[in-house]
């Protein structure tokens, strides 16, 4: 046995809700199957309606018929085979040691009883981890067990794989119908763009200086946003690292910080830009704020993940010398994270420059704004100039950031 030590204030994930695990699994499996089947129905209906009647409708039967049918099919599926939900959550219906996947009669009985006891969920109340089985399982002489690697596989036990393939295929077909994929236009329309290509490839140098000024704003916006973001993200990352937050308060802080950061991160910088344009006023400053907010959230996540994977050994060793907690962090943790932190920061700065270009769309005076304006005015020679500037910047940043990060390995 290899012993694993947690260096004191580094604690591990608690086992919450141990007991209810199995029932929860079964409910989740059914929910998954229900959603899976409901989605399949909807997509299938859409494809049929589209191909047969050219209407964009998601229903072919009254909704209640589809609802009941979905529930019943899910029940049948779970009784006779291994459904997608069961596969994902690792359970299967077993007919006993010697014939785990057979006993069709009993399985049918289970399905009938399941309608009585399973649907209202009463049957599940009797089901706990070991021995006790749900009513419909008990009466039909079957049991739901943890899935084991099957010794003899039958086609119907692998229905989940077939169904998964089906759902992927139908999603692609539906998506193609929905977005009106037009392959003929794609292959014949190319010559019409010739003029634009020609214009883009002969950039208009008269707007070079103007573009360059905007480019500088773009880079400075990114620099400022990144610099401020480090100041906030570095301390926050300690609160967002699972191994450094302990106790009830620690756990609450951890959860709050993590949740807030993931919400902030899921809002695109361009949306933040709109918010900050209203908040402060139009100009480059809302752009800085937008990138700053998004960078803090992103860097906190990257930093804290790095913190979670530090070697606890040195931390333990520094603690053993009688050092204060602040010193344990400075001597045991910081040297382990400083280079990865710098590396992430450069990476983020690189992203910020690209994003700063994009937020020009909403009126922040960065190079993206000029790009957008000239496109609207069909001045493609000038657009070409802007693209050249952006290209040069992105290329050199890419190179620079890669070189710097290689040094920090």
């Amino acid at each position: 046995m290899d012993e694993k030590y947690y260096a004191g204030f580094m604690t591990s994930k608690p086992d919450w809700m141990k007991g209810l695990k199995f029932i929860r699994r079964r409910i989740l499996a059914f929910t998954t199957d229900f959603v899976f089947l409901a989605y399949t129905w909807t997509i299938f209906s859409f494809i049929v309606n589209m191909l047969a009647y050219q209407t964009k409708s998601f229903v072919i039967l009254p909704w209640w018929v589809m609802l009941i049918a979905t529930v019943e099919i899910a029940g049948l599926w779970e009784s006779f085979g291994i459904s997608v939900g069961m596969r994902l959550l690792g359970v299967q219906v077993s007919g006993g040691e010697e014939k785990p996947m057979l006993r069709l009669g009993r399985r049918f009985l289970r399905f009938i009883l399941w309608n009585i006891s399973g649907i209202p969920l009463f049957g599940l109340i009797f089901a706990t981890d070991q021995g006790k089985r749900a009513l419909h399982d008990r009466l039909s002489g079957l049991s739901v067990v943890k899935a084991e690697p099957a010794t003899s596989r039958r086609r119907y036990t692998e229905s989940w794989a077939l169904a998964s393939f089906g759902i992927v295929l139908s999603t692609i077909i539906a998506a193609a119908l929905f977005t009106k994929v037009d392959m003929r236009a794609f292959f014949t329309g190319a010559p019409k763009t010739g003029r634009i290509w020609a214009a883009l490839l002969t950039p208009d140098w008269s707007v070079f200086l103007k573009g360059f000024r905007y480019l500088i704003t773009t880079i400075f916006t990114a620099c400022l946003a990144t610099a401020f973001a480090i100041v906030f993200a570095a301390p926050l990352s300690f609160l967002a690292a699972r191994n450094l937050t302990h106790g009830i308060i620690g756990r609450i802080v951890y959860t709050i910080v993590r949740a807030t950061m993931s919400i902030i991160r899921s809002i695109e910088p361009i949306i933040w830009g709109i918010i900050f344009i209203v908040w402060v006023k139009v100009g480059a400053f809302p752009g800085v704020l937008a990138l700053f907010v998004h960078s803090v959230a992103d860097l906190t996540k990257l930093y804290s993940e790095r913190l979670e994977s530090i070697d606890p050994g040195p931390v333990e060793a520094i603690r053993a010398t009688g050092a204060r907690t602040a010193h344990v962090i400075l001597y045991g943790i910081v040297p382990q994270i400083i280079n990865p932190y710098l590396s992430f920061t450069i990476y983020r700065w690189d992203i910020n420059v690209r994003m700063a270009t994009v937020i020009g769309l909403i009126g922040v005076p960065v190079i993206g704004q000029l790009l957008y304006q000239y496109t609207q005015l069909y001045k493609f020679h000038m657009v070409g100039m802007m693209m050249l500037l952006i290209l040069a910047t992105v290329w050199s940043l890419d190179y620079l950031s890669a070189r710097l990060r290689a040094r920090l390995k």
């Binding site: 050994g313 053993a320 050092a323 001597y331």
Partner: protein, 256 residues
């Protein structure tokens, strides 16, 4: 003279998985002793060592170090106790990206001025002491290299230098040589022995090889499943005792 360390009814239960790691362990360590802990992996040796300086919180029992109750110590008192008991580790536990010098000076953190050392500033006397200790373990020329550039044996010697910086009364070594090859093992063990003989530091070390335990230990303590199954002189371990500690299939391996 009163013993340096008294351990009374020490019990440790790990909450996760409810493993009983230490089961009512009691023993005393006298000043100047070289106590060797032996036993299979998972027998509780590392847990025992970490309970003594409370890197792991004991579940119950008492630990008295030089008349002070470690188990009741406040965080501040605990720091003062910890700086008197140095520790070296199986995997050296150096900060790999830091300089050897910084790693050695870290041993001084328990004594240092909190503000200056936060800025990585140490008094000249500490730096001289670090250099002297590196000389003592034979690697003064490595002082300004990064710790991960050193070989395993050299890294463990840095660990010993770091321990020396604490001017400890007690040295605890957790499998100090099990990550090293036999030749290096012996040289590292000799440095530990030197600390014991020249500086009068009491040593508690866990060791995998009984031959090393016999050669360096003044007393041996054997653990099995968290219980003490043998306590006595190295010479007292015969074939029967050996089988009791390590199990029927075990066979003694010689290491030189």
């Amino acid at each position: 003279m009163e013993p340096l360390l008294v351990v009374e009814h020490l019990t440790k239960i790990y909450q996760r998985g409810e493993i009983l790691a230490l089961d009512d362990v009691s023993f005393t360590v006298n000043r100047g002793e070289f106590l060797v802990l032996i036993g299979l992996s998972g027998s509780g040796k590392s847990t025992l060592l970490r309970c003594i300086n409370r890197l792991i919180e004991p579940t119950s029992g008492r630990i008295i170090f030089d008349g002070i109750d470690v188990t009741k110590a406040s965080p501040r008192e605990l720091r003062l106790i910890r700086r008197r008991m140095a520790m070296i580790f199986q995997n050296f536990n150096l900060v790999r990206r830091s300089l050897v010098m910084t790693n050695v000076l870290a041993g001084r953190l328990g004594y240092a001025n909190p503000w200056l050392s936060a800025l990585q500033k140490f008094p000249r006397s500490d730096i001289e002491m670090a250099m002297a200790n590196l000389k003592r373990v034979g690697i003064p020329e490595q002082a300004y290299k990064r710790a991960d550039e050193l070989s395993g044996g050299q890294q463990q010697r840095v660990g010993i230098a770091r321990a020396l910086m604490q001017k400890p009364d007690l040295l605890m070594a957790d499998e100090p040589v099990s990550a090293l090859d036999p030749a290096t093992s012996n040289s590292v063990m000799q440095y530990i022995e030197l600390m014991n003989k020249e500086d009068g530091v009491t040593v508690i070390t866990s060791l995998h090889f009984l031959s090393l335990a016999r050669r360096y230990g003044t007393r041996i303590l054997a653990l099995k499943d968290g219980k003490i199954v043998f306590e006595g002189l190295p010479a007292e371990i015969d074939e029967a005792k050996f089988k009791e500690i390590y199990g029927e299939e075990a066979e003694e391996v010689e290491i030189r």
